[in-house]
Amino acid sequence: MSKITGNEIIHQYLRHNKKFPHVLCAGCGHGIVLGTLIRSIHSLGIPKDDVVVVAGIGCSGRLAVYVDFNTVHTTHGRALTFATGIKMANPKLNVIALMGDGDALSIGGNHLIHAARRNIGVTALVLNNNIYGMTGGQSSPATPEGSVTMTNPYGQLDRSFDTVELAKGAGANYVARGTVFHVNRLEKIMTEAIGRPGFSLVEAITPCHTQFGRKNKYKSSVDMYKWLKSTAMSVDRYNELPEEKRGDRLPIGVFVDRDRPGFEEVYYAMQADFLKPTVKGGK
């Protein structure tokens, strides 16, 4: 029996009746993230019908249209709110919220905080390309200080947001970061994240060469992948580095891993208590 290739797996999950080609630029990392998501779901053996991909708005948001799951393309920043409703309504579903950095951290920042705090059983995938891709390269909260964008032609003045620290602080059950250069590791954490109860967040660093790279010293998408390769390092090694040597190295790996029950589980347990038939009379 011949071995199933990665592509063959992916083809089982794409919507061939959807008019391809897709909207992504050549070299965009978003497609790689989608590939890891598909392989994670495949390796977990979750039936397509039990998966709901809830996406926000942006290049990242468009990914939902291509995959043959239940897919909901919501409003900008609100993916987690729709996901919360779906999960509460039917806790058996595996709900994955797919968001850009603008989506998740800026317009949707409050929802991210509260989804994590509430510990709703949703997997949040933040595709961080440090920029607003779809609208043409404006600053996002994740744009590194000093970088040039359409709305920061003189360099980003405010500090860049740390998604992982935010999710940790807000109380997420599982928090990890990966990059599209380190694909296997990204797939591994994504698989873990989907399998965990409660709220889990995976930040995937994914280069946007078109809108971010060109303006910021990366001539091609290859340059951006090289940058990912050279800046990312495992969080354990990062933690051992003395403060002054850390520079702009990017820790990747798992930052939080707990297994507190999700909000929906706690809620339905409370309900089961209410609905317990009261024993009348006894024997």
Partner: protein, 381 residues
């Protein structure tokens, strides 16, 4: 003849009646954020839903999240609702448009209070009438219902759920602070005494299903997410398969259908109560708590020998055009009293097309329009 089972009578606030109506209509999901004067709806749902089989109550971080969660729950097959007031209603508008575009049933209760902005938080007003019609962006049909007493709060909430499910659309129940905070004796209908409509689910095998296909009523069947029918839901203009499209003929087909599915059912959707309108030469058109003042004014006018009538609007949008046209057969004057600067009188004028004088009575001081104010204008002719 079988004896009708005696109905339970309760003494309830308008907002309590809304919650009771929702539960009777089969609502099993409430997502919301507190705001005066709508909060009691939320508090009652917080109490009741967790004790109801499968019932979900969740307090969200804001009204935007509330709408998102309610839409998500509805996609997953629940009858879902939220309640709010002016400032929260404004925040819900973007997702309201989404619910219209993605044809997601839900009930949104807006108990109006004085505005603009935080305005007169605890004072009655009817300032959100046009926001309910046009608050979200783009061209779209909408169903907006109203109630003028506590019994109607219950009945119209059930109607709102039924219409939402029947037409696959969000339905807005627009109330005012006076109606919501009035306490009156009402009757709870017994099960079986009223219609409970639930959305049509597809019967064909999943491979055959096209989520936004044309149907006789213009309303495609809607399976719950996760039931084996996998499709794409989006706020983007989409084709029959649910995929985004910008092809003019597909755009027009979708827009036509979502308008038509509401417009053509005016007999079912446009609800009014006609009080002494048959021969009325002067007709008051009113809704919400103002309709109660108007009813008294009309009775007093009749006692004074004036042929006055009241067209009480229970549906505000689509505006009950045909009922107004009927009144115009003999009415020379229409009087539209409102607790705003004239948001509904615009509709009345639009439909009247100069065939009768339209006189307005407007209050925006947080006070209700009284019967004597209306009577005075009726007596002026």
């Amino acid at each position: 003849m079988p004896r009708r089972k005696k109905r339970t009578e309760i003494f309830a606030l308008g907002n309590e009646a809304v919650a009771e109506g929702a539960l009777l209509a089969g609502c099993t999901f409430y997502g919301g954020y507190p705001i005066t004067p709508s909060t009691e709806v939320m508090e009652i749902m917080a109490n009741r839903l967790p004790k109801t089989e499968g019932g979900v109550f969740i307090q969200l971080e804001d009204e935007i999240a509330s709408m998102g969660a309610v839409i998500g729950a509805s996609l997953a097959g629940r009858k879902a609702m939220t309640a709010t007031s002016g400032p929260g209603f404004s925040l819900m508008q973007e997702n309201l448009g989404y619910a219209i575009m993605a044809e997601t049933p839900m009930v949104l209760v807006n108990v109006m209070r004085g505005g603009p902005s935080t305005g007169l938080p605890t004072c009655p007003a009817q300032g959100d009438v046009q926001q309910a019609r046009w608050g979200t962006h783009g061209d779209h049909p909408i169903i907006v219902l109203s109630a003028s007493n506590v019994q109607e709060c219950l009945d119209m909430t059930i109607t709102a759920f039924n219409m939402a499910e029947k037409y696959r659309t969000p339905v807005i129940l627009l109330l005012d602070e006076v109606t919501s905070h009035t306490r009156e004796k009402i009757e709870l209908p017994n099960p079986g005494e009223f219609e409970v409509f639930s959305r049509t689910v597809p019967s064909m095998p999943p491979e055959w299903y096209k989520p936004y296909e044309e149907t006789v009523r213009g309303v495609p069947p809607m399976p719950p997410v996760g039931s084996g029918y996998r499709f794409h839901v989006t706020g983007l203009t989409h084709d029959r398969n649910g995929f985004p499209t910008q092809r003019p003929e597909e755009v027009v087909e979708l827009m036509d259908r979502i308008h038509r599915k509401i417009d053509q059912f005016f007999y079912d959707i446009q609800l009014v109560e006609e009080i002494q309108t048959e021969d009325a030469e002067i007709c008051v058109i009113a809704y919400g708590c103002v309709a109660r003042s108007a009813e008294l004014a009309v009775h007093q006018a009749r006692q004074n020998g004036v042929k006055a009538g009241l067209l009480k609007l229970k549906t505000l949008f689509p505006y009950p055009r045909r009922h107004t046209e009927k009144v115009l057969a003999h009415a020379k004057t229409l009087i539209v009293p409102e607790m705003n600067m004239g948001q509904m009188s615009r509709e009345v004028k639009r439909v009247t097309m100069g065939n009768a004088a339209v006189r307005t009575i407007n209050r925006v001081d947080g006070q209700i329009v009284t019967p004597s104010e209306i009577l005075k204008v009726i007596m002026q002719g």
